[in-house]
Amino acid sequence: DAGVTQSPTHLIKTRGQQVTLRCSPKSGHDTVSWYQQALGQGPQFIFQYYEEEERQRGNFPDRFSGHQFPNYSSELNVNALLLGDSALYLCASSLVDRESYEQYFGPGTRLTVT
């Protein structure tokens, strides 16, 4: 049973560029959440997708956008990259049922903005 997978594992971009990160949820899961983990900090919630729509959003600017595909996989897009966007980006999957408490995390994508 494959867990949550993310690609790429590492990425280096220049300020002002755009980046797309990808996530495949754990088998059977229908909800994908994205988190940003800056160095030395805990993960911060970016947004959550279910049924190809954004259900909830954290305190992140519109430069951060996402998409969920019919197979439940998801993309995180960041436009006009800033140095402060350098972080580990974590994807987590779960079931939409609110009684399902566990979120399963992928290994993350390390983004470095220079």
Binding site: V4, T31, S33, Y35, G40, Q41, G42, P43, Q44, F45, Q48, R55, Q56, G58, L90, A92, S94, R98, S100, Y101, E102, Q103, F105, G106, P107, G108
Partner: protein
């Protein structure tokens, strides 16, 4: 809104000694509580969770935590640590109502020395 405070950024301990990692939270609504572990260059793994019932919960790898509602705390303990427990530990909360969105603390780095 919810917030989580992990009172120690780093905890050094010798192998086979007991350890306690402290977590306090603030919330105007009832919450579920979680502890996650992050090994180097990996994603987050759930150690244990408190949903309801007994305030002492047991998790994987010999860890346990106690929920104290009056002190709004959820401290993590292990009676005897191993070198392999060296990792970053995150306390997180999620409102019992609403979507499955986690709010994390800043993390505690547990360093186990021989």
């Amino acid at each position: 809104a919810q917030s989580v405070t992990q009172l120690d950024s780093q905890v050094p301990v010798f192998e086979e000694a007991p350890v306690e990692l402290r977590c306090n939270y603030s919330s105007s609504v009832s919450v579920y509580l979680f502890w996650y572990v992050q090994y180097p260059n990996q994603g987050l793994q759930l150690l244990l969770k408190y949903l309801s019932g007994s305030t002492l919960v047991k998790g994987i790898n010999g860890f346990e935590a106690e929920f104290n509602k009056s002190q709004t705390s959820f401290h993590l303990r292990k009676p005897s640590v191993h070198i392999s427990d060296t990792a970053e530990y995150f306390c997180a909360v999620r409102p019992t109502g609403g979507y499955n969105k986690l709010i994390f603390g800043a993390g505690t780095r547990l360093a186990v020395h021989p």
